[in-house]
């Protein structure tokens, strides 16, 4: 008899997205996988220690770093380790030495390996806006397969749902965002990470589109107070901060964000 249930996912999700607690703060420190060293995380050990000391609920790491930095995630008071399962080149914009010419996405770790690494959750990306429809299908297929594997290990799956690329315009952005969030839910996501939709009412539409899955706001600028407060009012359950925006002042920046979210200093 298969005893697997949603229980493991629910318990692990609650360790960084506590339904009875204030909005969560998760930091993405996995940028090295796609763009190399970033400010504040050139030295992963000290950079992560500063982020963790600031009081965050979860940290997203690449599989390689997760294995090396495991000691920082020990104890029930430590933040949850979330493991990045895929790679893409979408963060390589015009300022990057090799900007992307074609959006690409591949898997780098499965649920079993994330479990081995001690993950409380796993993070994948789902993009809409590919030039070639086959790429979107490949991306969704990868997310769906990962979701099925996550069920087996009781690992919650967070999906970054992002409209990206030349086919995404100001005109279709909100609909694309809602569509990518809803498709992620249908594929098996337990939480959806989305960028700000531009207004509180739009954000509410995104939250509604995500249905049962909690929505987390992805912010590039840690002090983007308007996006944060409007999203929380619209129903977002937390914030995912890009590590690149933290720079050397990670601790004070996260402290400010905590205050903004009503979590205290």
């Amino acid at each position: 008899m298969e005893l697997s249930s949603q229980m493991g996912k629910e318990i692990r999700l609650s360790k960084f997205l506590d339904p009875s607690g204030p909005p969560a703060i998760v930091v993405k420190a996995d940028q090295g996988l796609a763009v190399g060293p970033i400010a504040g995380l050139k030295d992963m050990e000290s950079g992560l220690a500063a982020i963790i000391a600031a009081g965050v609920d979860g940290v997203v790491l690449s599989p390689g770093q997760a294995g090396r930095q495991a000691h920082l995630f020990k104890g029930r008071r430590a933040p949850a380790l979330l493991v990045r399962s895929d790679w893409s080149n979408v963060a390589r914009n015009e300022s990057f030495p090799l900007p992307w010419k074609r959006m690409t996405h591949v898997a780098v770790a499965g649920a079993k390996h994330a479990a081995f690494l001690g993950a409380q959750g796993i993070v994948a990306s789902f993009y809409v806006g590919y030039r070639d429809d086959e790429d979107e299908a490949d991306n969704l297929e990868a997310v769906s397969q990962l979701a099925a594997e996550c069920f087996q290990y009781g690992l919650p799956l967070l999906v970054e749902a992002l409209p990206v690329g030349e086919r995404v315009t100001q005109h279709n952005y909100l609909d694309s965002l809602k569509m990518s969030g809803r498709m992620s839910l249908e594929a098996g996501a337990d939480g959806i990470i989305v960028p700000y939709a531009g207004a509180r009412s739009s954000m509410r539409e995104v939250v509604e589109a995500a249905g049962a899955a909690p929505v987390l706001l992805l912010i590039a600028d840690v002090l983007d107070a308007k996006s944060v407060s409007e999203s929380v009012r619209a129903g977002a359950k937390g914030v995912v901060v890009g590590g690149a925006s933290l720079g050397e002042a990670a601790q004070s920046s996260i402290g400010e964000l905590s205050k903004l979210l009503g979590r205290g200093a």
């Binding site: 493991g8 609650s14 104890g75 029930r76 001690g118």
Partner: protein, 409 residues
Amino acid sequence: MSGPGKEIRLSRIIDPSDARAVVIAADHGYMLGPIKGVIDLGRTIASVTEGGADGILVSPGQAAKIGYLFRGKDRPAMLVRADWTNAFRSKTYTLPSRHVQHRYMTSPRQAMALGADAIVIYFFVGYADDQEEAQHVSRVARYARECEEIGLPLIVEPIPLGERITGANYNELVGISIRMSAEIGADAIKAPYTNDVEMYRDVVRSAGIPILILGGAKSKTLRDALEVVEEALESGARGTVFGRNVVQAPDPGAMVRSICQVVHGRKSAREVTRPVAEGKMKLRVSRPRDCTGCHICEIACSAAHGAGYGLESARLFVRPSRDGFRPVVCTQCLKCVEACQRRALAVDSKLGCVVLDASKCNGCGDCAEACPVDVVRMDQGRPLFCDLCGGIPECEEWCPREVLASVRR
């Protein structure tokens, strides 16, 4: 320990700040049915959680049903019992076991899916047929390998069991089965304590992985249970796994708090179980003929009042008597209080002992002179009075022959 996942998950059970753990076993229903304390399991788990347990062991079926009690950052770790046995269905239970059976019911991956931070499995030694021990070793090894692959800590509970186990070989087999479990691939051990600090120190050293000792069969008193824990910790054990002593306690949460005070708070069982004094009390020499003149009462008194282990500062003394020896204690006659011209002495409203207001005392010594039994002594210009140690007189606690007894007035 192999792999980061195991390290992270085990640290959710064994607190990295002091490398110790208090785990509560609540999986009895799987083996014994609805025994007291696990009938309303949700209520017991809520109480144990509130008491501050680091982890709770539950059966896979209960994990799927009441796993919601483990949701949230401040909740204890979930340990899942992955195997089943009838070995504990003794003659006092319905359908006592005729032949020990042991089966694996839940795979490590299934336990992961349920939200487990670790799984717990038995390892028996003492089978009548050696082939059965070999099969059990094989099963533990299979689970150890699977746990390694998915980063799930494996806690093995080695138990010497069966007709080949005797009083003479039990303790040695505890040590042997623990070491064997470590060699097979256990990440931590849940094992009985052998009531021998020095012997267990060797067991701990030999294991090389954390050992959590069993709370054991239901203890007569809380202090009995905690004294075993205190002793085991002294030998290097990393904590405890309490079962029936906690889940069948009138207030499981309060019991867990007491265990945590010993395990994490590093307090002694004596300190933790010291009751708050209620009502006035008096010290009596209840069995004067049993006094051997060992002076332990005086030493305990002196030490309890921070005056070292000499006899000079004790608030009682032992004198030779016609029959041998006899302790002399304050009778609370209050003649000292009457003798004090400066009104520096008063009667403690809660306990009834004499208390000194040092700011009013001029060290005249009238109180000592007025004492008809000479227990009021002068020390550096100030009189010393029996304060009943706040309600648990140390002289009474330490007297090996129970010569002294405190009574409520």
